[in-house]
Every structure is written in C-alpha cells, then in structure tokens.
Symmetry: C2
Subunit: 467 residues, 2 copies
C-alpha cells in the first residue's frame, strides 16, 4: 500500500506542508460537529496521533466516516496543513477517506480509562493503548540499545540453549520439558519414569541461566553476551516475578569484579541515555500518568557515579540505621541475604544513587563465584537502583580448578555434571567475570511500570499462559 | 587487566609500530627453535592470530614458556614490530611472558584436524577452533544485522512468549512444559491427567512460532518483528533439523504479499552485505576450507534481483524438466508440496538465483494464509536459495473475518482457541503480511556449513541435549 508513515509526517512536517499525503491507521476517536469533524488516527509508527479534519462539503462519504467506531482502520488522503497556533503542529485536511476495516460499538478500548487488570484480559488489544504503546516501544528500543552497547565493544552474541539437562543455579524450580505421554509414561523395571525413552534420552528442563554455557564461549571469544528467555517455575504471585522472562548475561575473559562493575554501569547508562534520546514522547506520557519521578530518576542515574560498598560495610550501615530507629521487617545481621527493603534503604536513603554491593558471604551465593582471600566472602556484586532494589547480579567466577572442585565437593553437587565447566579451568584458565540483567526489571525501571505483567507482551505467571 | 585486544593491534598496527603493548590470550601453537621461538596467540577479539617472538637471551622464563601446551593462557608484554615483508603485517617481540593458566598435553584440540563429529562431543572447547570462531562470529554479526535492518525501518521488536497453550501451526509435534510429578501425576475422576493442577492450570507447550502473537502487536505498531527461539519435537535426525532453533518473524500491517517479498529480499541482501563487510577473514577461511563456492554465491545473491514465479508456473517448469529427462525422486504434480530437490532445481538450474514461489495450493498451507480469488490457492510465498532450498516462508494473512472463520470451520479447528486471533479481524482489520526466517538456515547459508549442529552453540536434537 502506498502510504506515508505518521512518524515521517511528524519528522518532516515543515517540508510536507501543503502537500497531499496518504496515511493509514486506526481510529482512536472521532468527533462529529455535524458539518465538520475530527478523526484522531494512529498507525503505530510513533507515539503521536494524527489529527484529520473532515468536512461534509468536500468529503463524499462524510456520514459513513463520522459513524465509524473507535478501532476502525482507515485510509486517508489529504493535504498536510501546518497549524503553528494549535497544540499539534499540523493536521490533515481530508480529501478522501476509505474504511479498511470496521470496528464495533463494543470495541474493548473505550474512552474511559481501563484498569491494568482489565487490560491483562485483552492482551491482544492492549498494545493499542497509550500505556502499552509506550512500554513496548521502550522495551524494543532498550533491547536494541543493549545489542548496540555490546556489539560496539566487540562482544559476540551467543544463543545459549533454552532446553537444558543441567541446572546452572542448583536451584531446582525448573520446568520439565518432555514428549512422553504423561498419562501413560514408560517405566523402568523398578517403576520409575524411563527417561531414556524421552526425546533427549534423559530428563530435560527449561534453562534458568545461560551463564555456564556463555563461559564456554568467553574462553574462545573473550567477550560474549547472551540475550534470551529464561524460566523459573516459582509459585510466587508477586509484581516482580514471571515464569518466563528475558535475561542479558555478558561474560568477559581477562576481567575481574572491578571490570564487571564498570561494564554494568556503562551499560545501564547507555541504555538509559538511548531511551531518553529516542523515546521522549513515551517518557513524557509515563512521567505524567504512571510515575511522576520517572524522568528525574533516569536523568539522575545517567549522570551519577554509582556508589560502591562491600556487603560487610552495607550490613554496618543497616545496623546503624536500626540503632537510629529505622524499622526493617527482616532482621539485619552479617550472613543474611539482603531483602528488598534493605537494598532500597541502601540505594535510596543512604547513598541516594545506584549502588554496587560487593563481596557477599559465600553461603548465600552460587558455587561458581570466586572465593575471596578471607575465605568467607566471594567476589559477587549486586547492583541496586532506587525504586527497585537489585537489578543486576554478577560475580567474578572461580577460575582456580582446585578451589572450584573443592567447593563443588563441599556443596555435595554432582561433580560429573560440572566436568565440562571444570575443563575450562583445566585448559588455559583465565580470570573472568560476568553479570545477569533481568530485562523486564530494566523495562520496569525505564517506564515506571510497577507490575512485570505489564512489561511482557504476553506474561506467563502461575495459572496464566493465555494468548 | 590492562591489556590491548589483538583486534585493536590489527586495526592500528601502523600507529602502534615500535610501541610496547600488553596482550593476553590462548596459545594456538608454540614453536621452539632452541634459542628463539614463536608463540601463536589468539584472544578471541578477532579471527587473526598474533605472532609473538621470544628470545632465550631476553626472556628470563624462556624454557617455561617454550614448554607450555596448546590451550594455555598467557599474558605477553613486548614491542610491536611491523614486518611488511612477512605474511603477517606485524609481530610482538616479547619482553615478558606470564603463564596465566596452564594447559595439558591431552588438550583436546591438537594440530591434526578434528572431525566435526568429534568436535560435537567437546562443544565447550570447539569455539576455540578456526571453524567455530568463524561460524559463531558470523552468527553474531548476522543477528545484529537483522536487528539493525528492522529497527532502522521503524519495526518494534516483540518478545513473543516461549511457553504457549495454543499451537500456531496446528501441527502437533510440540514439547510439553510441566511442573507435575510425572511419576505420579494428579488425575481427574475419569483417570486423565488433571491439567488444572499444572503450573499454568492447563496443558502448556513450547512455541513453534511467534506469528499469531506478533500479529497482535502489528495491529498496534504497524511493523513488528520477533527474534527468538522456537521448538519442534520432530523425531527427524537430519542435517537440517534441530529441536530448538531461532526464528525471525516480521509482521507488517498495511502490507500485501508484494510488500512481504520486497522486505524479505532487502533483509537477506542487507544481512549478506553486512557479513561480507564485517567478516572478510572468517569468510575467506570458510571459502577456502569449507565451501569453495561460498564467496561467489554470497556476492551473486547480494547483487541479483530475486526471481518470482507462481507455484502453478513452477509446477509447469518442473513438469517440463521431467519431460526433458530430468529425474526427480518425488513425482511432480499440481497440489504436491515442493521437495528440496524441486526447490533446488528451480533456484539453481532454472532461475540461477534466489527465487520467490508464490500462491501455493491452500491444502498444503496454514489456515491463516489469505485465500486468493481463484478459491484454491493462497497468498503464500517461499523464498528458495541456491544450495539450500527454502530459507523463508511467508504469507499475506487472511484479514477477512468471514473467510477466516469459514476456513477454521472447514479444517475442524477449535474455534475458541482462535477467538483472540479473530478479534483482530473484528476491530479494524487491515491487510497484513509477514514471513519467518529460520536463523540457523541463514547461518548455514552464510558460512557454507552443511550441518545445523555446527551453527548452534549447543545443538538440541533427538537424543542430544548435552552441555
């Protein structure tokens, strides 16, 4: 179809003034003043709506158009008129309008504002609302910014596998993947499931992290990153948890925890600056209607040096806060896993900017994190941001074969499952580090949207996998 | 670690001549000539290896270094010496070399060339070979080119869900995703699996396509694309099939089959040109050792206008070929699904360039493809390329509600499952089209590698999900 995108009209309105253009899009509203009327049209190419003016005298099918329902699709040809006095910089004076697809009076998006809960029941239609047009464009722009950031630094993008027969975090809570007939599964002689008959010849699950696979590639390419879906079968119905979410996991050879933090900080700033630059209309709307502190926070983070504190010092800060009368729900003591309330206190109240907390107790972190000299903490880092808490978790990896094997033993893990992982330490081991960024958390942070269900195109949570 | 990437040395060798640099990388080979020697080092930042020259007189730990095994990691400080007479443009005269991580005499990658079959058993090590360093860098560059192509045209990247409760192709052959205890699943009163007890409250599977979800977003943003993993639980052990693979699925509103083909052709050319520009060393190696026709083929495709033929005319061409004595394994007749041998005949022998075949019989294509005026063919298109056959499959979608509903009825499909899909035709339907590109097929095409197991970081196929 020969047409001009509405985004192009906004980008070049000065040059196009007085010219005849053809656009196509969906009706957001129609106002009929009997002899003239306004059609507000959007084609999805940008956040802005286009105002079309129609006149009974010049538009043969004026009544047909005036009677269309919200959501109908139209093709409009008309003259672009600059309107420097008006709120919108230009409008289209319609010469002809064709109905491409009608809508109905019960179109689910009516003028009155719908609740997020209702919109979750019409996920196929909700991308047409202002909120979701803003969220999902920002999501796309942020994804591209992440690719640009890493590719421009020479990182190789690796598609680590989704189906796995190992468990990176040793965490359990994984989804089983199978082709066995579950009502009638093949059994071994002693009555257990005979996994050798399953598609992969053994039990398989959905991955919780691509990190261990990414390390294979970091030992060849130096710097690599993943960006793909990961899964948790956690039965937790919160605003921050989804069963399926996207993760970015860079992995860098010849890098320590300091390099890791520098890369994480540079990446977050790059993404924020890119979204600030490319999505001003979306951010303005979100700042106005969703989170009044959004723009200020993004500008602040983009221009702050992130704070750095060890876990041990962070605990002292929190203990001091308790002494000074601050109430936390969870007790503070060296050895605890920090709760969101603790994280937010540190980044919001104490430091007032994004904060890296480093060197956590080994007991609360994964087996692959590098043991520090003190023998009780590991070279782990979490990045905490105001308003959210933890957004990034990373570590320097244990590159010493003997230390790693001892740790695997200590934790009673299946050594054979980590043979390949240990091989990387057997053949030319190097210090290396990486981190994981939950992409939906980032999008929540970039948009001010506080429910993960509203930043995923079609969220999967306990009891929900519609659409 | 303060170091210079080897890629930077190659990019700026003229400026760096005579300067002292520090690099780190892995030993690809060491030649010890008693009083001097050569270390060939690679850090993964580029395809090229770095030649390090060491001299017994000036290197205190000469014997330690000379005795290192292939695969060891080293940190080297030395002077960059331009060598305009030699094969490589420069070398490093080592002043000091530190062993970061030793390797062993039984390091799996020795000088003799390993078979692809053997390398598949050491997927954690194989990225360090020339073949896989070429393949996986090209994979990464091609992925980025695809994002660039669509983002620069205003497409919104949509992460359609991986876990699904519907079946886009109506094809079966899906992986079940569950958290039920398979040895002891909850049963309903009549002895069937009680899916209401499963994580999502109903049977769930891994997606075979994001298209139907992408259409939801195309009706809001106009132009969108997906790029993510898809799955087939097909029990086929061929060079072209994997259980897990990545797909790119653009979807465009206000677009017909002609627009679809133009976009597909432009995308393929953009990706090929980007890889030709960014990966010359990788392509030269592949052209020399893997597929001697590779570079010629890529240049040819990048500069050809793709041929276009209807399915009906393609059948006539194939029938004529049979008449003229050409032997096909599968019989040719209007109504058949084209086999790879037919596709390759068309694109290689008859047209000698990439070829779009359009307007297939409705009976062999999916329910959502737009019915043509003739009532027996649909607005489908396959893009065939020399050496591979089908690389892209697309169609204009059926945007007419009544025609779509009739087709769903005819095929005896569950109407309720497609209610949302039909809603898109109920509220402002527009003509729209899209296609699917199997990313691994594309990488095979770009590299000349003929087995899908060798273009996936860790391939998942029947009986195989190691690493």
């Amino acid at each position: 179809m020969e047409r001009t995108h509405i985004a192009q009209l906004f980008a070049n309105s000065q040059e196009l003034g007085g010219q005849t253009v053809t656009v196509a899009g969906w009706v957001r509203s129609i106002r009929n003043m009997k002899n003239f009327g306004f059609v507000i049209l959007n084609d999805g190419s940008c956040f802005n709506d286009l105002q079309v003016v129609m006149n009974r005298e010049t538009l043969a099918n004026y009544d047909e158009i005036a009677s269309q329902n919200t959501g109908a699709s139209l093709k409009v040809t008309g003259t672009l008129k600059l309107t420097p006095e008006a709120k919108q910089p230009f409008e289209i004076a319609a010469e002809s309008i064709e109905v491409l697809g009608k809508s109905t009076p019960d179109y689910p998006l009516q003028k009155k504002r719908a609740t997020p809960e209702f919109l979750r029941t019409i996920q196929h239609i909700r991308p047409r609302t202002n909120l979701f047009r803003a969220v999902f464009r920002i999501r796309s722009v942020a994804a591209m910014a992440i690719h640009e950031f890493f590719q421009s630094r020479g990182f190789v993008y690796v598609n680590t596998p989704i189906i796995t027969t190992s468990d990176a975090e040793g965490a359990g809570e994984m989804f089983r993947v199978t082709t066995l007939d579950m009502a009638n599964p093949p059994l071994t002689e002693d009555g257990a499931i005979d996994w050798s008959k399953d598609f992969f010849g053994k039990p398989a699950s959905l991955t919780v992290s691509g990190q261990l696979n990414a390390e294979n590639f970091a030992m060849a390419f130096g710097d690599v990153y993943t960006f793909g879906p990961t899964f948790r079968a956690e039965d937790s119905n919160t605003k921050r948890h989804a069963a399926e979410f996207w993760m970015i996991e860079p992995e860098m050879a010849f890098a320590d925890l300091e390099d890791d933090m520098e890369m994480a900080e540079a990446m977050l700033k790059y993404v924020i600056n890119t979204v600030l630059e490319k999505c001003p209309d979306e951010l303005n709307m979100l700042n106005r209607f969703v989170d009044k502190g959004l723009l200020e926070r993004l500008h602040h983070v983009a221009s702050s040096d992130f704070a750095r504190v060890t876990y041990t010092d962070a605990i002292k800060i929190l203990e001091k806060a308790v002494e000074d009368g601050h109430k936390f729900e969870y007790p503070v003591k060296w050895g605890i896993d920090l709760q969101t309330e603790h994280e937010r206190y540190l980044t919001e109240q104490h430091f007032g900017r994004p904060t890296f907390v480093t060197d956590y107790p080994a007991g609360i972190k994964a087996f692959y994190m590098r043991m520090n000299e003190d023998g009780k903490t590991v070279a782990a880092v979490d990045c905490l941001v105001p308003g959210i808490g933890e957004i990034i978790g990373g570590s320097q990896r244990e590159e010493r074969l003997d230390v790693l094997e001892e740790r695997i033993d200590q934790l009673g893990m299946d050594k054979d499952q980590y043979r390949y992982y240990c091989d990387l330490r057997r053949y030319g081991t190097v210090e290396h580090a990486g981190f994981g960024l939950g992409f939906e958390r980032l999008v929540m942070y970039l948009t001010g949207v506080d429910n993960i269900r509203d930043v995923l195109p079609h969220p999967r949570t306990v009891g929900h996998a519609e659409f």
